[in-house]
Amino acid sequence: MKERLQELKEEALAKAEQAETLSELQEIRVAYLGKKGPITEVLRGMGKLSKEERPVIGELANRVRESIADVLDTKKETLEAKQLEAKLEKETIDVTLPGRPVNVGGPHLLTSIVEEIEDLFIGMGFEVREGPEVETDYFNFEALNLPKGHPARDMQDSFYITEELLMRTHTSPVQARTMGKYDGKKPVKMICPGKVYRRDTDDATHSHQFTQVEGLYVDKNVQMSDLKGVLNRFAKQMFGEEREIRLRPSFFPFTEPSVEMDISCKVCNGEGCSVCKGTGWIEILGGGMVHPRVLEMAGYDPKEYTGFAFGMGPERIAMLKYGVDDIRHFYTNDIRFLKQYHKA
């Protein structure tokens, strides 16, 4: 009987070895391990055996069973893996075909610039303030030291609605409004971005609507060197550490002393080219120390408080930074224009 069992085992293992499909394997399993299989048959004939032989043969039969089952299980796993492999092979796709497109939107270039400016100044402790686009003559001009009939009002011909109402020509009125709210007591450290309007005929460099970001810092002991330090930090972060800045005296009715800030031309590295009109410098913003009359009108005592203010045009900055050559691009919303600034 021992020999018979040994024979059966070898027979079964050899068949399992040769099996190529799961169904063949199943047939082998049924043939050798099934209720009608030869091992069961062997066990059934155990009655004829002696008491001593019975457990020995019984154990052997079980071991044979187990080892056949083990081999069949292992073989099954191998075959299954192969089968899966073959199936997956058939599922091969052309990975070079295009993917399903995702609709990608993005911010307008001006928004990106404005948010970048906002974030730079927020980093220096400024808050962001907004105000109305239709302003009163008082806040747009008078509170900024531009009384009626002041010749500097010529500088910014405006869209009036009534004698007292106009489309704001700058975002400075937001500064006057904010200072007014603080009642002459609290320090003010703010920037105000927004749309502004001037009576200009639209062309490559003029737009009747454009964007401005102005900033204001009022506190005790604010010095002009602080203005220089803050603007320098801004310019280097915005335009790159390698850019040089310079301040020039200028004139604005709401600041005294006033400055204009230039950065060294990126195109020619200060050598002089057509972009910088040969000067090597490009003007990017104006500012100055807040005029005492402006402080006074907003309720601040100019003997106690001083401050600085500045203003810049995001369109101009975008034009310089990205080489945009026509300001009208910002308002025609040509998809080809808007999209190209999302790659940076």
């Binding site: 009534t162 060197s225 020039r248 005294e256 120390m289």
Partner: protein, 809 residues
């Protein structure tokens, strides 16, 4: 202001600096040099030549064959100019000369005859046509007889000059004169200043015997000085005066006119010369014009006057519009022999009014409008008399006769070194400040560890301490200020909740596949009032109009963002970009009284979207989806979800929108916008294909939202999902049924979603099936089947009662 550097050299030494370096220094000190113009790039080899002989060219009628003595040699030159004559002294470009436009002069043969060089017109030498004196406009230039043969013509004609174009800020009208620029340059370069000679020899005759001055409007005319100069010979001015005028952009006329212009430029003081014999009386009366009075000005125009205009009269008629333009009657002409010269101070207000009303802007009016130096009024008159006596043979009568109430006092501004340093953040010393004041030619007294500075009248822009801070800083050099950062208590900067939310809404829209657009707020009246949302049209009585629009295209303030956004789509469509998804966030301007607005309108922040074309195009997998209502609705829903706002969609008919594909958006029963397809007629007007839009009152949404992220727990107990398919009449709205389900289902129903809508086969005509998925959840315990079942039954009976809905088997 155009500044000839050759002219400037008369007052201050700038010889050591090339023009571009000087320009940079001036710019950095506060007056921007906007350009440098070199009159001729290379003007060597142009000399004065004497035309010894001039005869007709043997082979050409219109050409002349000239023998010209140019000093070392005689040149045979062929010249076609009509005004060439034997005996003239002319400008000769010798072979080798290079004229403007890179025109090289070479030996040549003209119709068989040799020509060595060219006799030049001023235009050929680089002078702009409009500045060329009339007598030389159509031919060659002729030097005065005393010009030296062989002399360098480029020097005589000032061709070696460089002209700076100054861009003056409104406060620096002092630099509208050569003297002003000289003071500025001397301060910047720390150089001494050489002022012009203002001495004149008067004759024994008295001006007062010839003319009387009466000013009836001293507020507008505090000084009027009248000079009389006899025996004038009107002729061309000397070459140097003509050269300087040309460099400054003024065409030379004759010596009298040129000298008044020259002094205008030199002193910044407008002067006016009348022909004394044509003046019409021996009396000057300055007064406000009468209503219905008129004057014919030098340009031949008749001009209506009113009491707002100041006029110079001869006691009867106006002879000049004060500070703006003279009258034709007393104009200086070739035959003038006695000149009546006006040197006056007119107030900016008076001149601005006249100049605007009559559309006359001149070198004079510009200067009066900006304010002239009271100290130079009379001095400029004297200077002109001196030049008239020297270059027009004039005899200056003892004078002037003047009306004088002019305030020439100097303002005093006190500064201290420590105040200046406090403001600038510098450590400038007393000595340095004193040095800067000296460079500026400001007189000062040292007092109480400070300076009392007398501000010269030429610098009317300096009135307060801060103005002096700027003066000191700019001469000290803005470059030399240190860099510091504010010392004040540091505050944390940041965005407000509203600003953060606005950014988040933008990011959501961009994540949803929309591109941000920015359009104009000013648009046509029609567009401003189109496609307005119900909650806007309800409040606004029409759009606000500008009082003086530049064009009807940008005349009114928008009430809706959509029309200009549609125009942007259209712009792109015309450029073969058919698939577009845009949004814009911006304000609209609501006036409850429309055009009759008197107060600031309400500015309402809105969010608009416009989408057209393919939403998805994936051709090789045959997937393609055109934008439809539900694409834009999905975007809107996602936004409302993000903001945690519950919004209802109510079928609506709105102007400009598709009548069957439009919904009004309601939140808590109030309108917050609309969504739908643009009406095909409107689409046509904009040249658009099917376009879907929404327009949302972001202002209202942001008001109602709390920023604190409300965290709700992840449920611990399992939810149960049930489907319910209902058959209803085809006109019924899924949203209404959904509302009934939510109301009837009780608190355990957490979500109700439509997952199928069907109409057609297997259903009776006029009926449709809507299938909902219901999500049940009890956050406190595991749900029992009976609870769900009883809610389900409630729902069934409720929808049957409310909508006649039957369960679809």
């Amino acid at each position: 202001m155009f500044v000839s550097l050759n002219w400037l050299k008369n007052y201050v030494d700038i010889n050591h600096l090339p023009p571009d370096e000087l320009a940079e220094k001036i710019t950095k000190s506060g007056i921007e040099v906007e350009g440098i113009e070199y009159i001729a790039d290379d003007s060597s080899n142009v000399v004065v030549g004497y035309v010894k002989q001039c005869e007709k060219h043997p082979n050409a009628d219109k050409l002349n064959l000239c023998q010209v003595d140019v000093g070392e040699e005689d040149l045979q030159i062929i010249c076609g100019a009509p005004n060439i004559k034997q005996g003239q002294k002319v400008a000769v470009a010798k072979p080798g000369a290079v004229l403007p436009g890179n025109f090289k002069i070479k030996k040549a043969k003209l119709r068989g005859v040799e020509s060595r060089g060219m006799i030049c017109s001023l235009q050929e030498l680089g002078i702009e046509e409009k500045f060329v004196p009339k007598e030389f406009a159509d031919g060659i230039f002729v030097f005065p007889e005393n010009a030296e043969i062989g002399a360098d013509a480029s020097q005589l004609l000032n061709l070696d000059d460089a002209v700076l174009e100054l861009g003056l800020t409104p406060n620096r009208s002092d630099a509208l004169s050569m003297l002003g620029v000289a003071y500025e340059t001397a301060a910047i370069l720390d150089q001494p200043l050489q002022l012009p000679d203002e001495s004149v020899e008067f004759t024994a005759e008295l001006t007062e015997d010839y003319i009387d001055v009466r000013v009836e409007a001293p507020d507008l005319n505090p000084y009027y000085g009248a000079f009389v100069i006899k025996d004038i010979e009107v002729k061309p001015s000397p070459l140097w005066i003509r050269n300087y005028l040309i460099a400054a952009g003024i065409r030379p006329i004759n010596n009298v006119v040129d000298i008044t212009n020259y002094v205008l430029l030199e002193y910044g003081q407008p002067l006016h010369a009348f022909d004394y014999d044509q003046f019409g009386s021996k009396e000057i009366v300055v007064r406000r014009a009468y209503d219905n009075e008129s004057i014919v000005t030098l340009d031949g125009q008749e001009r209506e006057l009113s009491a707002e205009h100041l006029v110079i009269t001869n006691g009867q008629q106006p002879t000049a519009l004060a500070g703006v333009m003279g009258g034709a009657d007393a104009e200086v002409s070739e035959s003038t022999t006695t000149v009546l010269l006006e040197a006056a101070y007119f107030s900016p207000v008076a001149v601005r009014k006249s100049s605007r009303d009559h559309g006359l802007r001149s070198e004079s009016s510009t200067r009066y409008e900006k304010g002239i130096d009271p100290d130079r009024v009379k001095r400029a008159g004297i200077r002109a008399c001196q030049l008239l006596s020297e270059y027009a043979g004039g005899k200056v009568l003892t004078g002037p006769v003047a009306f004088d109430q002019l305030d020439r006092s100097e303002a005093k501004v006190e500064i201290t070194t420590s105040n200046i340093n406090d403001r600038l953040g510098t450590a400038i010393t007393d000595q340095e400040i004193a040095g800067i004041l000296r460079r500026l030619n400001f007189h000062f007294e040292e007092k109480n560890s400070g300076f009392v500075v007398s501000i010269p009248t030429r610098r009317g822009d300096i009135t307060i301490f801060e103005d002096m801070v700027e003066e000191v800083a700019r001469i000290y050099g803005y470059d030399n200020l240190p860099y510091t950062l504010p010392q004040g208590a540091s505050q944390a900067g940041g965005l407000t909740d509203r600003q953060t939310l606005k950014r988040e809404v933008k990011h959501y829209m961009e994540g949803a596949g929309l591109m941000e657009a920015i359009t104009y707020s000013l648009t046509s009246k029609e567009r401003a009032e189109m496609l307005t949302s119900p909650e806007i049209s309800e409040k606004a009585a029409g759009s606000i109009r500008l009082s003086m629009p530049m064009s009807e295209e940008h005349s009114n303030l928008r009430l809706s963002i959509l029309p200009e956004l549609l125009a942007s789509l259209s712009y792109n469509l015309a450029r073969k970009q058919p698939n577009l998804a845009y949004y814009e966030m911006g304000t609209v301007f609501v006036s409850t009284v429309g055009e009759n607005v008197t107060k600031q309108p309400q500015e309402v922040l809105r969010l608009a979207a416009a989408v057209t074309g393919d939403w998805l195009a994936y051709p090789w997998q045959q997937e393609k989806k055109q934008v439809d209502f539900f694409v834009v609705k999905g975007i809107a829903e996602g936004l409302f979800d993000k903001l945690g706002v519950h919004v209802e969609y109510k079928q609506a008919k709105l102007d400009g929108m598709h009548p069957g594909r439009t919904a009004q958006l309601l939140s808590n029963g109030t309108s917050i916008g609309f969504i739908g397809q643009i009406h095909p007629t409107v689409q046509n007007d904009f040249d658009l294909k099917d376009t879907y839009v929404f327009d949302i009152d972001l202002e209202k949404l942001l008001e109602t939202i709390h920023v604190e992220p409300s965290f709700s727990k992840i449920p611990r107990y399992p939810s149960i999902s049930r489907d319910i398919a209902l058959m209803v009449e085809e006109g019924l709205h899924a949203g209404d049924i959904k509302k009934t389900i939510e109301a009837a289902g009780g608190p355990l129903v957490k979500d109700v979603q439509v997952f199928d809508v069907y109409q057609g086969e297997h259903l009776p005509a006029g009926r449709k099936s809507i299938a909902f998925n219901l999500l049940y959840l009890d956050p406190e315990k595991t749900l029992k089947d009976e609870e769900v079942e009883s809610s389900y039954q409630e729902i069934l009976s409720a929808v049957k009662e409310a909508h006649g809905a039957e369960l679809r088997g």
